[in-house]
């Protein structure tokens, strides 16, 4: 028996609904239809009255979640695509993210963002929003790369007293499989060593972890040992694990599927340079998508985002420097 990344997300939600009567799911087409990606399939039948279709009103969906969280409930909001969360942006960053600081009343909401590029999805169904939300104080931003993390981080997110931006990668939904759901997990906020090595550290998260692992495998045949750090959570960012890895390897390549300006890769490099400059044997490098909207056509899309090929090229250059 195996379980996909998407099934893990559905299973985590089913478990959260079963174990905590305060949990409910609100989003477009999440009810009888089971969600655009089927992440809530059959949940309405198992939990009647607690899985609700929302009008196409991202702003009001988030506002309702804040009101319900104030009342002690634990809403899970499904944004149909991460890209559409910008239509609810105000309520996320100004209402949910400021509530605790302003009033000391916690705001436990999980906002599920199916994001990331897939071939043919184009500019408005492919975006990665983690950097934008991580910029705002008051939000926790999670980026699971594995089936196990999709499950355990989602459960941890529901249990948290703070608003969580849960970045799911659509490319992993159907293809990424695990043998079974995990029984235990790394704590939230800790990065994971996805592969150990001594020559170069690749720090990345979400779908890019798998590209980085493929690169590590490829470069292994050339005699290089690449360490891969999967951040799991971009906010908080586990600087300690990153720094410990860079201390071992002396070389850092940071990879993100998001756009280059600012963002997670810039943050990681800024921290390593300012707090661990003397650990570096070469200037740290970063690889991101191109600074354009995400293209529709597969030829363009494949060249827009980092891939194993472009990551390997960047890694080889860095290893030789």
């Amino acid at each position: 028996m195996s379980v996909t990344y998407l099934e893990a997300i559905r299973a985590a939600q089913a478990r959260a609904l079963a174990e905590d009567p305060r949990v409910f799911i609100y989003g477009q087409d999440v009810g009888a239809f089971g969600g655009a990606f089927k992440a809530t399939k059959n949940l309405i039948a198992e939990f009647p009255g607690r899985v609700l279709d929302a009008p196409i009103s991202e702003d009001a969906m988030m506002g309702l979640a804040v009101g319900a969280a104030i009342e002690g409930l634990r809403p899970i909001i499904e944004m149909q695509f991460a890209d559409f969360s910008t239509a609810g942006f105000n309520q996320i960053v100004n209402q949910a993210a400021t509530l605790f600081w302003r009033t000391q009343v916690p705001c436990p909401i999980v906002i599920r963002l199916p994001g990331g590029g897939t071939s043919g999805s184009g500019p408005f169904h492919s975006q990665n929003m983690e950097a934008v939300y991580a910029h705002y104080p008051g939000l926790v931003v999670l980026t699971p790369a594995t089936v196990e993390d999709a499950y355990s981080l989602l459960l941890a997110a529901v249990a948290l007293e703070d608003p969580v931006i849960f970045c799911e990668h659509k490319l992993l939904y159907y293809h990424l499989k695990a043998e079974a759901l995990p029984n235990e997990a790394l704590p939230l906020g800790k990065a994971r060593l996805a592969r150990e090595g001594r020559d170069l550290t690749i720090v990345t998260y979400s779908a890019m972890v798998h590209e980085a692992l493929a690169v590590a495998q490829e470069l292994c045949l050339e005699g290089w040992e690449i360490e891969v750090v999967d951040l799991r959570s971009v906010k908080p960012l586990d600087t300690d694990t990153v720094m410990a890895s860079v201390a071992r390897t002396g070389r850092l390549l940071c990879v993100g599927e998001s756009w280059p300006w600012g963002g997670v890769t810039a943050e990681v490099i800024a921290r390593v340079v300012s707090e661990g400059f003397d650990l570096l044997d070469a200037p740290p490098q970063r690889l991101n998508a191109k600074d354009t909207p995400v293209p529709f056509h597969p030829n363009l899309w494949a060249a827009h985002r980092p891939t194993a090929r472009s990551i390997a090229a960047a890694a080889r250059t860095l290893l030789r420097s």
């Binding site: 506002g63 009101g67 319900a68 969280a69 104030i70 009342e71 993210a97 605790f100 926790v140 908080p236």
Partner: protein, 330 residues
Amino acid sequence: MLLARVAEEKIASLYRAGKIHGGVFLGRGQEALSVAAGLALRKSDVFAPLIRDGAGRLAFGEPLIDAVRTYLGSRLGPMRGRDGNVHRGYPREGYLPMISHLGAMISVVNGVLFARRMKGIPDVVGLASVGDGATSTGSFHEGLNQAAVERLPLVLLIANNQYAYSTPNHRQFACRDLADKAAGYGVTCHTIDGTDFMECLRVLPAVVARAREGGGPQMVVARLLRLCGHGEHDDAGYIAPEFKTSALGRDCLHVAEEQMMQEQAVNAAELEAWRTETMEKVERVIARVQREPAPDPFQEDWRAIQTAHLVEVSASANPVDSRAPGAPQP
């Protein structure tokens, strides 16, 4: 109404004396409507006031000292200097602190009502207060539509004071009357003269009762004129003179006083005594708050999330600058 008027006038004078950080926003001209809204609600209801609802806040049960503390930035106030002036409340008590983005509180009220329904708490009404400007926002549309779809006991109170900051109604919307919008949402609308205290006192409890009885969302459009600037920084030179001399421009507080004297509920001497008493009360509260401690950056936890162990401690974060004005010297 009187307490709100007197307190706000006093706060405005402190603003002119340079003793208030940030803006001051008065409810002058809107007190009758606002107080009627506050009085129509029970303590167990939900209230999301906006900037001109000082009177409604008091009527809903906010102690005067909370308003003064928030304006003066007292550490003992509900927002402890983290937020100021009209941004105050106690969310867990159904008294929601507004954010500045207009219309955004409507769906938050919906969420509280939705949650209480889910928890099986009966007989709750939520009242969200907005102005004519908010009716142009997407949040207004989404919030009202959502309340209608969920058939929530929402009362959406629209104070049409003719100007959103400086923008007149005809640059804000093109329908004949804001009340016409309600039909598009499948919502009942009530139109009232917001300068008429007795009418406000009569209509708002009836509207709140309709929502409480399961009548679904109710919209109220009140006509009035803002008798001050948007904030105290604004001289409101843009308000058309003909408005000021029209029935809309009459002062609802004077109307209320006349109506109460006509009803023989009060006489002129008693009114004068109320005014004196109210002034003394306001002076006392302000004097007390002026002696209270200001927020201290060294005692702030600078923590935006509840989960302490997930707070980022970055060496690049800006340390508290001991040279900042008002910061205690180490």
